[in-house]
């Protein structure tokens, strides 16, 4: 974006190469973004689906068991204030129940989180599932 010093006929001579390069990159970025977003739009309306939760690891801390999980949004709809519930079950008896939240989980994306449990989840069965969310 530097000054041009000549009249219309010669002005391109005064335009630095860098400006042409940046302008070209700008065109590619602009057209590319429009094309990609239009493609995303025509993929269809946002689809709500399940939230798949994988336990990555269980870490013993000084006073609790940390269960690190990864929540993967299977749908294309962004989920706001997603509640995640973890239950430690001894047979059918619930020994512990903890809730956590994820502020935003974009469609087809994943976020990590963790639960601090008093009970050793490796001794019992642990169930982690999505509890509820808001639409944006």
């Amino acid at each position: 974006m530097s000054p041009k010093t000549t009249r219309a006929g010669k002005r391109h001579d005064a335009t630095p190469l860098l400006e042409w390069v940046l302008g070209g990159i700008g065109v590619v970025l602009f057209v590319g973004a429009i094309a990609f977003l239009t493609y995303e739009e025509f993929r269809g309306a946002d689809r709500v689906s399940g939230v798949e939760i994988h336990i990555d690891e269980i870490v013993r801390t000084h006073d609790a068991y940390l269960v690190r999980y990864r929540a993967h949004n299977q749908g294309t709809q962004t989920l706001v204030d997603l509640r995640i519930v973890a239950r430690v079950l001894d047979g059918t008896t619930e020994r512990e129940r903890v809730e956590a939240g994820i502020d935003f989980l974009p469609g087809e994306s994943w976020r990590r989180g963790g639960f601090y449990l008093r009970e050793d989840p490796q001794k019992y069965r642990i169930e982690i599932r999505a509890g509820g969310y808001q639409e944006p």
């Binding site: 974006m1 302008g23 700008g26 429009i34 239009t38 962004t78 469609g107």
Partner: protein, 244 residues
């Protein structure tokens, strides 16, 4: 750089984001054209400047969002392209405004382009868009609008209008406009301040629509949101007339 801005980047409707980006392009070209110099800046240069501003802003937005760890390496393209595209809207306008102010030394022989009435209105729209696009994503706009009464909205509208006029004609800021001798106060007030405020409101409504701010609201709340966002938008519109 507010949290709402990058969240909107992946949450807002894709067709509205595309409409916003398409609307941005002529604004950038026009801004480069009117803020350029009469004897040297031509339409082709303005188009080039607009795309340079988009490239520079996209690059900087990507770097900053990566440094802030807002863009995760595992994020889907849909997520980060939306974030960067949304940051590019006010960012590229800001880049051109900065270029017009700091880009190159102004000499006494070189004149700013004489914009005429259409140019004045256009610059007001660009200034309103710049501030409105920065502020509209924040929750505060909605919260303020919902806690105001209709009377307070009317007072805010009157205040916005008065500020617009004072900014341009009375406050003594650099770039202040002089009222033409052959025009009455009322004529100038209606022609630029009232019309400018209407444009600022229209820009505010457009921005709110693109961000989905009207979803599920009553007509009264919708109008109040427009008036609330119209306050900074009108200051942006008036400032653009002073600065450019």
């Amino acid at each position: 750089m507010t949290m709402e801005t990058w969240q909107l980047g992946f949450m807002m409707d894709r067709h509205r984001l595309v409409v916003l980006m398409l609307a941005l392009l002529p604004v950038l070209v026009g801004l480069a054209y009117y803020s350029g110099f009469e004897d040297t800046t031509h339409f082709g240069d303005s188009v080039l400047d607009a795309f340079v501003a988009i490239a520079v802003t996209s690059f900087m937005a990507t770097i900053v969002l990566l440094i802030f760890s807002v863009i995760k390496t595992e994020a889907r393209p849909n997520e980060w392209i939306g974030m960067i595209a949304l940051q590019a809207v006010p960012g590229s306008i800001g880049a051109l405004l900065a270029q017009s102010q700091f880009g190159h030394r102004q000499s006494a022989q070189r004149k700013r382009r004489i914009s005429g009435d259409f140019g004045e209105y256009f610059l007001m729209c660009a200034g309103a868009l710049f501030l409105a696009a920065n502020i509209a994503p924040t929750e505060e706009v909605l919260i303020i609008a919902l806690q105001m009464s209709p009377w307070q909205s009317i007072v805010l509208a009157a205040l916005s209008l008065a500020l617009m006029h004072t900014f341009v004609y009375a406050a003594g800021f650099r770039g202040q406009h002089e009222r033409p001798q052959n025009r009455s106060f009322a004529a100038v007030f209606v022609k630029f301040s009232v019309n400018g405020y209407v444009l600022a409101l229209a820009i505010s409504a457009f921005i709110c629509w693109t961000f989905g701010r009207f979803e599920g609201l009553t007509l009264r709340d919708t109008m109040q949101i427009i008036v609330v966002l119209g306050f900074p938008a009108s200051v942006g519109a008036a400032s653009a007339r002073l600065v450019l």
